[in-house]
Amino acid sequence: MARFVLSIHCAPSDHDTTQRLVKFAHACLAQGHTIDAIFLYQQGVFHASQHLNLASDELAISALWQTLYEKKINLMLCVTAAEKRGLDITKKGIFSIAGLAEFAMLASDADKWVQFK
């Protein structure tokens, strides 16, 4: 069984990429693989916003991240990327605040790193 890290680089307004990352993550787990971390980097940091307000016919982004959190996946928010982009890191919800070094170490130990953008 393999160890994955995933990273998301696009804003939550990119619904298509978001749903793809979530499905890929669940498919990994279904095959018995491990996901050591999903890293929110570049515009991807905004996925950790606690203020997403979407209509009911839109992709339920917050609920999708919740499904990954419930599978005990470490959802890591890059703190420097977040601060430069104006995300309120005091309200992080299910996301953990991390430095680039923490993620780079996990990525170095993982078998595969797949980017979503």
Partner: protein, 88 residues
């Protein structure tokens, strides 16, 4: 030692000439999202294109029996059967 190249947009989003030169014959090319609209334009990168079935179907494309249409389990397996992936 083959690389998985992942594309999510129509080919006009990418530096076609540069990529055509970078992608090797034994590499895998996977089309997801809006890249599925125009799979035929991607033939210059690979003669053996892979694409995500549900993304293609959602966009109104018909899948032929000869097509390499993948589901998510296949996508995961593909990342493991290649040495590394690049999301362009």
């Amino acid at each position: 030692m083959s690389t998985l190249h992942i594309f999510s947009k129509p080919i006009s989003y990418y530096a076609t000439e540069r990529l055509a030169n970078l992608i090797q014959e034994h590499d895998s090319v996977l089309l997801v999202g809006d890249a599925c609209y125009s799979t035929y334009l991607y033939r210059q990168f690979s003669s053996d294109l892979l694409f995500l079935a549900e993304d293609a179907l959602a966009r109104g494309l018909t899948i032929n029996e000869s097509d390499n249409a993948l589901n998510y389990a296949d996508f995961v397996a593909l990342t493991l059967s290649t040495s590394q992936s690049i999301t362009w």
